[in-house]
């Protein structure tokens, strides 16, 4: 059973360091397995197309975020997330951990996606709303709106909202 008949679309709505991974991992792996993929970047997913990425994350309101530290899994109490600079520190720690464990940086996965001819669509409405221009973005994405996405979705076997 070949994968040539199946295709996939992903709506990318989040842009934090942790949420950037699922869409890019799924898209690149599907493409590697012969599945044509379209990624539609909207709202907070749109900044994932910026030329310079400095993805951040926060432990605030994230009770499931427990990182391996000193032999146990530890979370950060919400009140501590209000400390200035703590999000940047946590983001740096996460990136270091990923580097240590051989997890690809988002920039690399994105480049692999472009190479694998994953179709990237930037939501026109979000571009206008947050005042981004295509010059801010990497080479490759096309502009589109909801109807563009709906058309892609009607022809895709797998449609994911991330």
């Amino acid at each position: 059973m070949s994968a040539e008949e199946k295709s996939m679309s992903i709506i990318v709505t989040k842009g934090s360091l942790d949420w950037a991974y699922p869409p890019f991992i799924l898209a690149t792996t599907a493409a590697a397995m012969g599945v044509p993929v379209t990624m539609f970047f909207t709202f907070y997913g749109l900044p994932l197309l910026l030329k310079d990425l400095n993805l951040q994350l926060t432990a605030a309101g994230n009770p499931a975020m427990k990182m391996p530290m000193m032999g146990a899994h530890m979370g950060l109490p919400n009140i501590l997330t209000a400390i200035p600079g703590i999000d940047a520190a946590c983001s740096k720690m996460m990136k270091n951990l990923m580097n240590k464990k051989g997890v690809a940086p988002i920039e690399d996965l994105r480049e692999l996606a472009v190479e694998a001819e994953v179709r990237l669509i930037a939501c026109q409405m979000t571009m206008d709303l947050f005042e981004y221009s295509l010059d801010d973005m990497i080479e490759g994405p096309e502009l589109g709106g909801a109807a563009t996405y709906i058309e892609v979705a009607t022809q895709s076997d797998i449609n994911l909202f991330i």
Binding site: M1, S2, A3, T28, M33, V35, K101, G102, A104
Partner: protein, 76 residues
């Protein structure tokens, strides 16, 4: 002896699969690609990859934490 060897040790999902796909492009049809990986998830991943893409997973083995896969590229 495989036509090509890919060292994917120390790389985590999805890099072993992505690099394997890239490496396979340079392998002639019905040629073989040997892949070394340390990611335990790569075992299931390569089986799925081969099923989906029609390439044949000829052998796979594990030796002290390093997994070895031998894939035969499908006929042209």
């Amino acid at each position: 002896m495989a036509d090509q060897t890919l060292d994917a040790k120390g790389l985590n999902c999805p890099l072993p699969i992505l690099k394997a796909r890239k490496a396979l492009k340079d392998v002639p049809a019905e040629g073989t690609l040997e892949i070394l990986a340390t990611d335990p998830g790569s075992v299931a991943d390569f089986e799925a990859f081969c099923r989906q893409t029609g390439n044949e997973l000829m052998e796979h083995s594990e030796d002290g934490g390093t997994y070895r896969f031998l894939i035969r590229k499908k006929a042209a």
